[in-house]
Amino acid sequence: MSDIYFTTEYLERYLAGELSDTEQTAFEKAMDAQPKLEEAFRRHMLARAAVFHTAKEEWRDNKRQKLREWRAEEKQTSSVSWYQMAAAIALLLAIGLGIYFLQSRQSSPEELFLAYYEVDAAPNTRNQASESELYKGYQAFNQQNYEEALMRWDNIPADQLDNFTTNELTYYRGLSYLELGRTTEAIQQLNQIQDSDFSDRATWYLALIWLKEGEADRARPLIQSLARRASPYQSKAKEVLKQLEE
């Protein structure tokens, strides 16, 4: 085994992904075969973790201090004489009432998305099936490891699943893409299940996606259709519709 494996520089190159595939494989095999090397590596990871944690805490303290300074600045600039306050109130009162009705009653599409968006949890079951790629993917999804979830589901042959499960999987793929910010792919997935048992859910999330994109006109017909029919989303759809139409 090469002594170079034990050096800080080599370990750092490994962590930074600077080794070739062959070098990385050889190094990892050496770690599996030699307890002393694995020990040295674990020690190195502890040192890195200590540096990272300390850096993060100092960064956070620094930013927390800045937040306090900004709050203090706001308080200072807001302490004006009562004359100025009276004048400001008089001027703003006339404007403020009008803005109040507009601003508080009319939420932007994006604000509606933020107010109503919640990720639907994937099935969580403990039985024989829980070792399958399908349920491992659901586990990864519930742990917000969306890239892993998608990768596991890609391993499932298309003909292995019944119709219901295929549609369920398409739904959660859509949500995974949405969480990853891959909106186009999310829309593609959800559009595929508009006529399935997941139709209501797909319609709801499609509507939310359009709200997120600022496309209220595309969201509206979807929300109207949900508001008209009995489903778990009917009351929320009615609320959103009311706010869109005000």
Partner: protein
């Protein structure tokens, strides 16, 4: 909203990707302009003042790292992306302690899967606190180089300029030397720990 931000999102993203001082300025702008999320964390998730503030800053840190690494693809607005990260972090804080303990591993830079597994396996509570204490004892220059290299995305040349070192190469070799020094301190203090992490090599 009546008052609009005085910066453009594309300027922010460029600043974050530039690293170093520009990244720090862009980060401060982000923190300042979205700090209303702290109230959201308190009202919606029942977080305390301190926890809501911590969670908000963690969300900012995650966002900055994702922009820096090119993981933010611009398919949504930066503010929407930040909201989503923040909401997820709030939910994580409400989950059980074990999962919350490991959440910081995801904030670390990208590394091979094996390295990530080691981090998750380490008994972090005691060993990490001791290692952090040893880092604090390392001495000013070593600690500075290690910390500046870790989070802020400063280039080695920027660190050299900030610390008055000759060149970027000096920073790189100093960083390796300081990490080695920290690891040696961990070994030298082996009597404090029960884990076989710390037997002499």
């Amino acid at each position: 909203m009546i008052f609009r931000k005085s910066y453009s999102e594309s300027e922010l993203i460029s600043g974050l990707q530039a690293g170093g001082i520009q990244r720090e300025r862009s980060t401060d702008l982000l923190i300042k302009h979205h700090r209303n999320l702290i109230s959201r964390g308190k009202k919606r998730y029942g977080l305390s003042d301190q926890v809501a503030e911590e969670t908000y800053l963690d969300a900012i840190m995650s966002l900055c790292q994702q922009v820096e690494l090119g993981k933010f693809r611009g398919e949504s607005r930066l503010s929407t992306y930040l909201h989503r990260i923040f909401e997820n972090k709030c939910k994580n804080r409400l989950r059980d302690d074990k999962e919350a303990r490991y959440s910081w591993v995801d904030d670390m830079p990208d590394m091979p899967a094996k390295a990530r597994t080691v981090l998750e396996q380490l008994e972090l509570a005691e060993e990490l606190d001791h290692a952090k204490h040893l880092l604090a004892q390392l001495g000013g220059r070593c600690k500075e180089i290690l910390l500046l290299s870790e989070l802020q995305g400063y280039s080695q040349q920027e660190i050299a300029d900030q610390l008055g070192l000759k060149s970027a190469r000096v920073v790189a070799t100093s960083r390796y030397r300081c990490l080695t020094k920290l690891k040696q301190a961990i070994v030298d203090n082996a009597i404090l720990f029960k884990s076989k992490l710390y037997s002499k090599n």
